[in-house]
């Protein structure tokens, strides 16, 4: 247990946590700009979300509903930071040697359960209904995502993300999972699930501002809402990185001494591309109802994912 | 005009049938009109004739086929204004009666929802009556509430 080794590791982890937050906030600002351009309007400056977070965290009064309400704030940021650090980012295995894809799947649940507790503790009926919708959404988009995850695991015969990334980056882009036909279908299903995971427009049913007054966030204000915005930013980066690690080889294209920087840039470009894709889908679709979303995921997406799973199973058995 | 033939009285005024009825005839005439064609109850309005000392309640009905508007008018005394409730004929009459009760003070027997409707805890007498001086009331109530003066550097 050499102390220097641990100290370096902690500084790297802290650095990646800060990078994750800043890129997340930057992406949200750019996302609002893209949506504005789609609406043919000017849109806020790209650094707008930094200002919003600063304003929220500097609010004078912060109204809370008891210690269970505060759990939301604590669990949300710590849970999503934990998830981010267990993902291989740009080829750098932060902690992903110690955990695997299932751990990341369940770590993603800690912040949402924390929010659910906080929203429930606020006692507002809108919050209760909002959390119900969020959990039903989680159940629905989890099915296709899990099926594609298992397809990948069976093909690469491992559940650790680090090994999946390593096996997909042997000879650059040619070895990415998305280049193989069955995984193209799986990538499509997983991308739809990603749309649900990021709670972007067609699937932002739990936080619908018009129907249930922004769902679980009804009573969140000041630092609580600030922590929520930070959570959304980091979750954005974490979930897109998970997709990139599974299908796009974790952005690892170069090996050698300067590889670290190239991989980082490729990773950044890939998650930005994914985010722009989901923002464009968001800007052009109205919000679904919760039954439609559930039916969409469990009928159509699940069938698509199942096809890719069976195809991979046949390939692996042969 | 079909309604005038049906009820046998009333005259045509500006293209509408204006029928004067007494308080006890009103119920079965509404029922009669309702059965043949006048199935849309437009509204219940009230006019305060201060000098004649009476309220005039007008039941407006509309016939889609004939495209005819029938106005059944009833006069009731202004001091103890009491009228039978017609909500059993058309459900929405109950709401009109609640509003007229709140604004004019007419008591409708049979309508058990004459609770405060638009004016929450309004202690004075009904405001729409002609003897209610709205300007004086505004001066007494709203003007009498003081502005909140603070030292000048407290923003506006």
């Amino acid at each position: 247990m050499d102390m220097i080794g641990i100290a370096i590791k902690i500084t790297i982890l802290a650095a990646y946590a800060i990078i994750g937050t800043c890129t997340g906030l930057l992406f949200m600002g750019v996302g609002r700009k893209i949506v504005a351009r789609v609406h043919n309007r000017v849109g806020p400056p790209f650094y707008q979300n930094f200002i919003d977070v600063a304003k929220l965290l500097s609010k004078k009064t912060n109204i809370s509903h008891g210690w269970i309400f505060d759990l939301a704030l604590l669990f949300s940021i710590s849970g999503i930071l934990l998830t981010l650090l267990f993902l291989p980012i740009g080829g750098v295995q932060l902690l992903s040697m110690d955990g695997d894809a299932f751990l990341v799947l369940y770590l993603l649940a800690i912040p949402s359960l924390g929010f659910a507790l906080g929203a429930g503790a606020s006692g507002n009926p809108n919050a209760g209904v909002g959390v119900m919708r969020a959990l039903v959404m989680m159940l629905s988009y989890e099915l296709p995502f899990v099926i594609t995850l298992i397809a990948l695991m069976i093909y690469y015969d491992t559940t650790s993300l680090a090994t999946i990334v390593r096996m997909q980056s042997i000879n650059g882009i040619k070895s990415w999972a998305i280049t193989m036909p069955p995984f193209m279908i799986a990538a499509f299903a997983a991308d739809m699930a990603l749309q649900g995971m990021l709670m972007e427009q067609p699937f932002d049913i739990p936080v619908a501002p018009h129907e249930i007054a922004s769902g679980p966030m009804v009573e969140f204000g000041g630092k609580y809402l600030g922590s929520l915005m930070l959570y959304k930013a980091i979750a954005l980066v974490a979930e897109t990185t998970l997709f990139v690690d599974l299908f796009l080889g974790g952005g690892v294209v170069a090996h050698g001494n300067f590889a670290f920087i190239i991989n980082f840039i490729v990773w950044l470009a890939l998650i930005f591309l994914l985010f722009v894709l989901s923002i464009l889908i968001a800007a052009s679709f109205p919000r679904f109802r919760i039954e439609q979303a559930f039916g969409f995921y469990w009928k159509y997406e699940a069938i698509i994912a199942a096809i890719s799973l069976i195809w991979v199973y046949i390939m692996v058995i042969k | 005009m079909k309604s005038i033939e049906l009820l046998g009285k009333g005259e045509e005024m500006h293209g509408r049938a204006y029928i004067k009825l007494s308080a006890d005839e009103i119920e079965e005439s509404i029922k009669k009109l309702k059965e043949n064609g006048f199935n849309h109850f437009v509204m219940l309005s009230c006019v305060d004739w201060l000098d004649k000392g009476k309220f005039e309640l007008v039941y407006h009905m509309w016939n889609y086929e004939e495209k005819e508007h029938a106005m059944l008018s009833v006069d009731i005394d202004r001091n103890n204004a009491v009228m039978k409730s017609m909500s059993h004929l058309f459900p929405q009459i109950e709401t009109y009666e609640r509003e007229i009760h709140e604004m004019y003070g007419i008591k409708f027997e049979g309508n058990n929802r004459l609770t405060p409707f638009l004016l929450e805890n309004w202690p004075h007498d009904p405001p729409m009556r002609k003897d209610f001086d709205s300007k004086k009331f505004v001066k007494q109530m709203y003007e009498s509430i003081p502005f909140i003066e603070g030292d000048e550097n407290e923003g506006i």
Partner: protein, 196 residues
């Protein structure tokens, strides 16, 4: 609902410069549309005038918002709900009142149940004249509010705390439609000059 019972008074000076800059460029308004001014808001939000370029966004609940827009005449019944929303907002919070109905009652000056001067009941930071101002007026008002925040003049929330009981007294009187007869005023005057 005792909003500020026993709360330490939030002083304006404690507010750091950076925080003031941030809250200036990111005003979130609560979507409480009373009266006839609400229809002016959609053009302000959509592509022609686009308020989002100044960082202004519309939020669903008062907890998340900083600016409360009173867009038109207020009946006594609606004022009670507006005050509930205003007290649920988290300070620093601002109120922008649209149109002449909030300034002096507008065309309802002699109506028995509309509020005549809004600042008697809640502190108003900014009035926009006009019997419903156009979107340019509204955007200009937001920019004006930003200037006020910068100069430290938009302290409505502080006034509400300082004169909290005065505001509450006015609100109580208007909710119960309490009427002060002239003779009571005459009697008070007579008592005063009897004392002298």
């Amino acid at each position: 609902m005792g909003l500020h019972n026993g709360d330490k008074m939030m002083r304006y000076e404690e507010w750091s410069k950076l925080a003031r800059k941030a809250s200036k460029r990111s005003l979130w308004m609560v979507h409480f549309c009373t009266g006839c001014g609400a229809i002016e808001m959609p053009p302000v939000m959509t592509s022609r005038y686009d308020m989002e370029r100044f960082g202004i966004a519309s939020m669903a609940t008062p907890r998340q918002a900083d600016v409360l827009l009173i867009t038109g005449y207020l009946t006594v019944k609606t004022l009670r709900r507006v005050i509930q929303v205003y007290e649920q907002m988290q300070s620093p919070k601002y109120v922008i009142a649209f149109g002449s109905c909030t300034i002096n009652g507008g065309m309802y000056w002699d109506s028995y149940n509309t509020i005549k001067h809004l600042e008697k009941y809640i502190p108003v930071d900014l009035y926009i004249a006009g019997c419903m101002p156009r979107p340019e007026g509204i955007i200009n008002a937001f920019l004006e509010l930003m200037k006020l925040i910068d100069e430290g003049k938009a302290r409505g929330w502080e006034r509400y705390q300082k004169y909290y009981d005065k505001y509450k007294e006015n609100q109580r009187r208007v909710f119960n439609f309490e009427v002060k007869e002239e003779k009571e005023e005459k009697e008070q005057k007579r008592e005063k000059n009897e004392e002298h």
